[in-house]
């Protein structure tokens, strides 16, 4: 698919839905799965699909994202021709802070215009999956579509649909209607915030959007344009974790303790690449007890860990017990600490004998860098 499509990643979309995790970072740089950031999945999927030009749109809080991406060499996107482009605000005289998706795209019009590919793959960072974009692209081309929406069928409760967009379609997959936050429970084709768009179509709607001051790609273009444009859906059948609330973030991490999901997510259409940190391998002492957990490099485990995801460089002291928790990079858990249903951000220090407990439906979140 090399050359046929290029990628645009929105690193800041939906920041507000997990505001706890994004107070110091973008959605794209939220840590996940012991050693990754969310953007690793969409970037690796693009690389594994043969895409060699990717623009990453940033809005604010993106220093950690820039540090993570570097020159893009971990995703083989450090290239003379094409490669990785970070597209920050104020990069050009015309561009200020973006208000919405269309605004951001208008800000990078010359980047879009210069690309020689016919198709654009646009994606947010809130979906975690292993996907080969060649498959929806084939479908897009066969359908002669203007836009192809990548969807996954999911049951929606009325309580838990915030931000979800359901795509109604005919038998041929042509989208006839968009329903925001579906009001009735049921099975819906929910968009994964990934679209394949014809480049020339995109350039046209950006012209239009600029003159009419449209902001929302979904509301103003797709929802209004179901009749006018050829919008198709493509069903993704694999695993798709979604990070829309801190509860979902918790469960999507816990999903990794299922070996089928791990196997699919990390290997199906190619590897998931991330920044190399040169940690030592994890070390377990005589007193360690570990079960059903994912543990990254650089950890020192002397206590008990169960049903948890432990990021790089975490230490768990003697007598400590970590259950049903997510512990991010560089956190130190002292002796005899007890944790249950807790999400601990980076570089936290939990002192001797502390006990922290959340619930399955309401995991406790501990802010980056604090001392408890």
């Amino acid at each position: 698919m090399s050359g046929r499509a290029f990628g645009i990643i929105f690193s800041n979309m939906h920041d507000e839905s997990v505001h706890e995790l994004t107070s110091q970072r973008t959605m794209g740089s939220i840590p996940y799965g012991g050693r990754y950031r969310l953007i690793d999945f969409v970037l690796s999927n693009m690389y594994n699909s043969g895409i060699t030009k990717v623009g990453v749109i940033t809005k604010s809080n993106y220093q950690s994202l820039m540090d993570h991406l570097g020159s893009g060499k971990e995703w083989d996107l450090s290239r003379k021709r094409e490669g990785l482009f970070i597209l920050p605000p104020f990069g050009r005289a015309q561009s200020g802070i973006y208000k919405g998706r269309l605004d951001a795209l208008i800000g990078i019009r010359s980047f879009i215009h210069r690309s020689t590919s016919d198709y654009v793959i646009m994606a947010d960072c809130d979906t975690i999956c292993n996907m080969n974009y060649s498959l929806p692209l084939e479908s897009h081309i066969a359908n002669k579509a203007d836009v192809t929406v990548i969807c996954k069928q999911r049951h929606c409760d009325t309580a838990d649909t915030m931000g979800d967009v359901a795509y109604m379609s005919d038998k041929g997959g042509r989208v006839s209607e968009l329903v925001m936050d579906p009001p009735q429970a049921g099975d819906y084709d929910i968009g994964l915030n990934m679209w394949i768009v014809n480049k020339s179509f995109l350039e046209n709607i950006l012209d239009d959007a600029q003159s009419r001051n449209y902001q929302s790609f979904e509301r103003d273009i797709l929802q209004q344009g179901c009749d006018k444009y050829r919008i198709f859906k493509w069903d993704f059948n694999g695993y798709a974790g979604h990070v829309n609330t801190i509860q979902q973030y918790f469960h999507t991490n816990m999903d990794l303790l299922d070996s089928d999901i791990r196997e699919e997510l990390f290997f199906k259409y190619g590897h998931i690449y991330t920044k190399v940190r040169d940690d030592v391998p994890a070390k377990y002492s005589d007193s360690a007890t570990v079960s059903n957990s994912m543990i990254a490099d650089g950890c020192t485990i002397e206590g008990e860990v169960e049903n948890s995801v432990i990021f790089r460089g975490v230490s768990v002291g003697k007598g400590a017990k970590v259950s049903n928790s997510i512990v991010m990079q560089g956190t130190k858990i002292d002796r005899n600490v007890k944790l249950n249903y807790v999400i601990i951000d980076k570089d936290v220090f939990i002192k001797d004998n502390r006990i922290l407990m959340g619930f399955d439906s309401y995991p406790l979140y501990i802010t980056k860098g604090c001392v408890v």
């Binding site: 998931i272 040169d278 391998p281 377990y284 570990v290 957990s293 650089g298």
Partner: protein, 405 residues
């Protein structure tokens, strides 16, 4: 076009490493995996960049493919430099003919033009098969202060061990007056670590001289050092303190891995100011299953552990099935140990598969395990179900399944 470098390093990585047996059948010794995520050469390359030496020539000739690929452009060690950086230097043909490297000194001799490009004042000669952390810049400072022609890094060994090493006999000021290769009655316990700093002008002169000497073995220890001593050059012993181990044999390789498991491990890999760099595999963190037991072990990323691991070092991508027991062993990348297999005091090389209920490192008496010999299973070997491999065996071919009669 070349920028002058004060010091450059030349790393001798050409030896066959035959004492490592099946582990070096298809790879050079410096490429042998070590410590859960490293290769032996990572220690020397990381020492170089951490010491501020960013120009490194790696002299290879035996099975260099895997080593070349591993070193690549040097990026993992920050040695992908605009000028300098890491260069792999195989032997090559000239118009007047072609020679393989005849000895360590000849390997350097054949690359004089490479070294001369950078016009260095000092050349540090290193081996690719030692595990240690050393700041070469301190040794170079010592060399400069002494206005030395050659500085040999030495480490204190016990008197019993001394006769296995090259021993430097030096005055109180560190000046070496005698060098004895594996002396029966050692006069000192200062063993050469095979780490030298030379003033390049002097070394070049002796390399050229050595080439003209008909019966020379073209070796640093056997020829160059003695010749320089005989001529009264200023040679000094630089005392190194800290962990240092030559991992040229199966026993020493196994021991050095086991050293990492000691709580008071003498080589601290957690020190972020002196990181040991390596080329990282692209795998997720490891997963420990519900029935696993792990004690006193090192486990790298990408492993799946459902069985029991005691006192062992596991590299990335290893699978240990339920009920399997691994004890006092080194399991190299992507090996698989199936259900209820038992592995003890063994080195399991890459991509090995140990069948269910197989027994690796077995001895009938099962007493005094300390005295067990180390069992080695070579790369890619498949051990069939219920097969038994006796202790102290080195195995290079598949074993079939043992069927019930």
């Amino acid at each position: 076009m070349y920028r002058k470098m004060e010091s450059i390093a030349m790393l001798l990585a050409g030896g066959e490493g035959s004492r490592l047996g099946v582990l070096t059948k298809s790879r050079a010794k410096p490429a042998v995996p070590f410590g859960g995520k490293y290769r032996i050469i990572d220690f020397t390359l990381s020492n170089c960049i951490n010491s501020g030496i960013s120009t490194v020539g790696v002299l290879t000739q035996y099975q260099p493919l895997e080593l070349n690929e591993y070193i690549g452009n040097g990026q993992p060690w920050d040695l992908d430099r605009l000028e300098g950086g890491v260069h792999v230097l195989p032997p090559y043909q000239r118009r007047r003919g072609a020679d393989w490297y005849k000895g360590t000194a000849n390997a350097i001799y054949q690359n004089i033009s490479f070294i001369d490009r950078y016009n260095p004042d000092y050349v540090v000669i290193l081996s690719g098969d030692h595990i240690y952390k050393m700041d070469y810049s301190k040794m170079i400072d010592f060399h400069k202060q002494n206005n030395a022609d050659c500085t040999i890094s030495v480490i204190d060994v016990s008197m019993e061990e001394a006769s296995r090493f090259g021993i430097m006999n030096a005055n109180d000021d560190g000046r070496v007056y005698q060098f004895e290769e594996k002396p029966k009655k050692p006069k000192s316990t200062k063993a050469s670590m095979g780490v030298y700093t030379f003033t390049w002008k002097t070394l070049k002169h002796y390399l050229e001289l050595d080439e003209e000497t008909g019966n020379s073995q073209n070796d640093f220890g056997k020829d160059i050092i003695p010749a320089m001593l005989a001529n009264g050059e200023r040679m000094f012993a630089y005392p190194f303190e800290g962990y240092w181990k030559d991992v040229g044999t199966i026993d020493s390789l196994w021991e050095a891995n086991m050293d990492l498991l000691k709580p008071d491990c003498a080589i601290n890999l957690y020190d972020t100011s002196w990181k040991i760099y390596s080329r990282s595999p692209v795998v997720p963190p490891h997963f420990i299953g519900s029935n696993a037991k792990i004690a006193n072990s090192i486990i790298a990323e990408g492993c799946t552990i459902e069985g029991e691991i005691y006192n062992s070092v596991l590299f990335h991508g290893v699978h240990i099935a339920r009920g399997a027991v691994v004890r006092d062993s080194i399991i190299m990348p992507d090996a698989t140990i199936l259900e209820k297999a038992k592995v003890q005091k063994a080195v399991i090389a890459e991509d090995v598969e140990i069948g269910a209920e197989a027994l690796i490192g077995f001895r009938a008496d099962e007493i005094n395990k300390q005295s067990f010999g180390i069992t080695v299973i070579g790369d890619g070997v498949h051990i069939g179900r219920k097969s038994i491999v006796m202790e102290a065996t080195m195995l290079d071919s598949d074993l079939p399944e043992v069927k019930a009669v």
